[in-house]
């Protein structure tokens, strides 16, 4: 496969984005392309482990690092861009751990050797990058402003970062590296939303957890946490909640009918991805941004606001 040029970046889609969260996948690609970076999917990627493999020692680190090796081997890119916060966390965790701990690096390399898929060993160096942080640092807010042809004037959006985009800073290096976001009060999504003309609301649950990890085993906890977040955003006057993680979408969007059934109409609010709103502001149609995919029906609100 051809190596990447400077306007391309190696991209890890992850399992959710290729199936039920395709809206996030396609809108991320549209937005990046408009801003001058083409996202190229790595071939033969495997699942990152989505937090369920952590108690399996070095095997949990092998899963993401195999994808880093693929990016390096097939596309010649040290870094890997991804849109899913859970994948991002798993990648950052593995990369940081093997960089700081020689035993763990050796254990991972032993698995690589046995699998025999790559000739070389894994060597620390590459970085995983969340698409929000990637676009913010590589292209910046001004680039977003320049590309905005249809500002979303009058739309009140509640930015919802969730847990793993900014936490924990021991893995993500938020607070520790100057170009990274703040771990307790992230700002990048606020800046992007304001750049495309939307208004952001403060509602206090920006970095709260949606309970997405336990959404299968422990719906009760997840529903309670989601209903708190949605109702707080609604009370603060938000029209939509903007997300950057498909797992949050699984908890807040796909399960919303059940949450409303349990906690009442206070917990009903359209959920969209940040990149969908950006795509809309960049002049793409609502169909191209695939707003129709969301269970919580953001199309109605967007129509009311005249977009």
């Amino acid at each position: 496969m051809n190596k990447l040029n400077e306007n391309q970046a190696a991209y890890y889609p992850g399992c959710a984005l290729l199936t039920i969260d395709r809206a996030y996948n396609s809108s991320s690609k549209l937005v990046s392309k408009k801003m001058g970076i083409e996202l190229v999917e790595i071939p033969d990627y495997n699942c990152c482990g989505i937090g369920e493999m952590k108690s399996k020692g070095a095997a949990a680190m092998y899963l993401p690092l195999r994808n880093m090796m693929l990016a390096q081997n097939r596309l010649g890119s040290k870094d890997l861009v991804m849109a899913c916060s859970v994948c991002y966390h798993e990648f950052e965790r593995s990369i940081t751990r093997v960089r700081e701990n020689r035993n763990e690096l050796e254990a991972v390399n032993a698995i690589f050797k046995e699998a025999g898929e790559f000739e070389e060993e894994y060597a620390p160096g590459g970085e995983a990058r969340h698409i929000l942080e990637f676009l913010y640092n590589e292209k910046g807010v001004d680039e977003v402003k320049r590309n905005t042809v249809k500002p979303l004037k009058g739309l009140k959006a509640a930015p919802y970062y969730g847990c793993l985009y900014s936490r924990p800073s021991m893995y993500t290096f938020t607070d520790k590296k100057p170009h990274m976001d703040n771990s307790e009060r992230p700002r990048f999504m606020h800046d992007f939303l304001e750049a495309i003309g939307a208004e952001t609301v403060f509602y206090g649950n920006e970095v709260q957890c949606c309970g997405g990890r336990n959404v299968v085993q422990d719906e009760e906890t997840s529903f309670t946490l989601c209903s708190q977040t949605i109702s707080k955003a609604k009370k603060a006057g938000a029209d939509v909640i903007a997300l950057i993680c498909p797992k949050c979408a699984g908890a807040l969007d796909v399960n919303q009918p059940k949450i409303v059934e349990k906690f009442g109409k206070d917990s009903e609010l359209p959920i969209v991805y940040l990149t969908q709103l950006m795509a809309l502001a960049f002049g793409f149609s609502k169909k191209e941004a695939e707003f129709g995919d969301m269970i919580s029906e953001p199309l109605k609100v967007l129509k009311d606001r005249g977009f």
Partner: protein, 254 residues
């Protein structure tokens, strides 16, 4: 702005659950019929807060066992400040969920006490607030994973009876992530519902609407296109061998 929002009360006021916690246990209540101390009659029902005990006989091998795992490797650093419990997402919902206490019990190897908390110990949502704020980088979020390993090894019957759902779902994840190399979310959802005996709900209106919507816009079929990574078989074999030969409690055959 933040001050205006104060009127709606959060789930737990700061520190509320620390007072309201289950400090009173039935076996620590003592009834005294005729107790006179310094001429004052203090007979009645009394709760013994601290029973006299000897905590010197630590089982150090237990501590090592946790320290040897990847997730529990920083257990020695914890100095019990309680920042993890104070910032926990789950504690306000389930007040018996107390990461600091769990870490303490693991440090001492106090299995007897740990056994009482099996029903809440698995509720961690992995939000990493505790790890973010921990002043000693103990990484309590991952320590809860180590706790899971400990429970699995020492209380297999309880896991079988109380944590069946959690274990079943974990098994589905394992089979898909290690077996197929990729995760099929629709299959995960339906097989988890089936395993936990909630097949009926899949036929309910909400589930039906969601499935219908996804079938209509084609997403239900995109799962067919997910595919498998090429050459995954080799990786799968290597991972399985690793899990079989690992010497700590992470070993899959424990």
């Amino acid at each position: 702005m933040a001050l205006e929002k104060q009127e709606h009360r959060p789930v737990a006021e700061k520190g509320e659950h620390i007072i309201a916690r289950h400090l009173i246990e039935d076996d620590s209540i003592k009834e005294e019929k005729n107790l006179v101390i310094d001429g004052v009659d203090v007979s009645g029902r009394w709760n013994t807060f601290i029973l006299s005990r000897v905590d010197a006989e630590y089982d150090r091998s237990f501590f090592r066992e946790i320290k040897d795992t990847v997730v529990g490797s920083r257990i020695n650093r914890c100095w019990q400040c309680g920042m993890c419990t104070a910032s926990c997402t789950v504690t306000p919902l389930y007040r018996r969920f107390n990461p600091r206490a769990f870490i303490y019990m693991m440090q001492l190897g106090n299995l007897k006490e740990l056994k009482k908390y099996i029903d809440v110990a698995w509720r961690c949502v992995g939000c990493y607030k505790c790890s973010q704020r921990c002043p000693k980088q103990v990484n309590p979020a991952e320590m809860m994973e180590a706790l899971g390993l400990v429970i699995k090894k020492y209380f297999p019957e309880e896991v079988e009876s109380k944590l069946k759902v959690d274990e079943d779902v974990k098994k589905i994840y394992d089979d898909m992530i290690l077996g197929d190399g990729r995760l099929d979310l629709a299959k995960l959802h339906t097989s988890a519902m089936r395993k936990t005996g909630r097949t009926k709900e899949l036929l309910g209106k909400i589930e039906r609407d969601t499935i219908f919507k996804m079938a209509k816009d084609g997403r239900a079929f995109s799962i067919l296109r997910l595919g498998k990574p090429r050459n995954w078989g080799k990786s799968k074999e290597a991972i399985e061998n690793y899990l079989k030969n690992i010497k700590s409690i992470e070993n899959s055959e424990n």
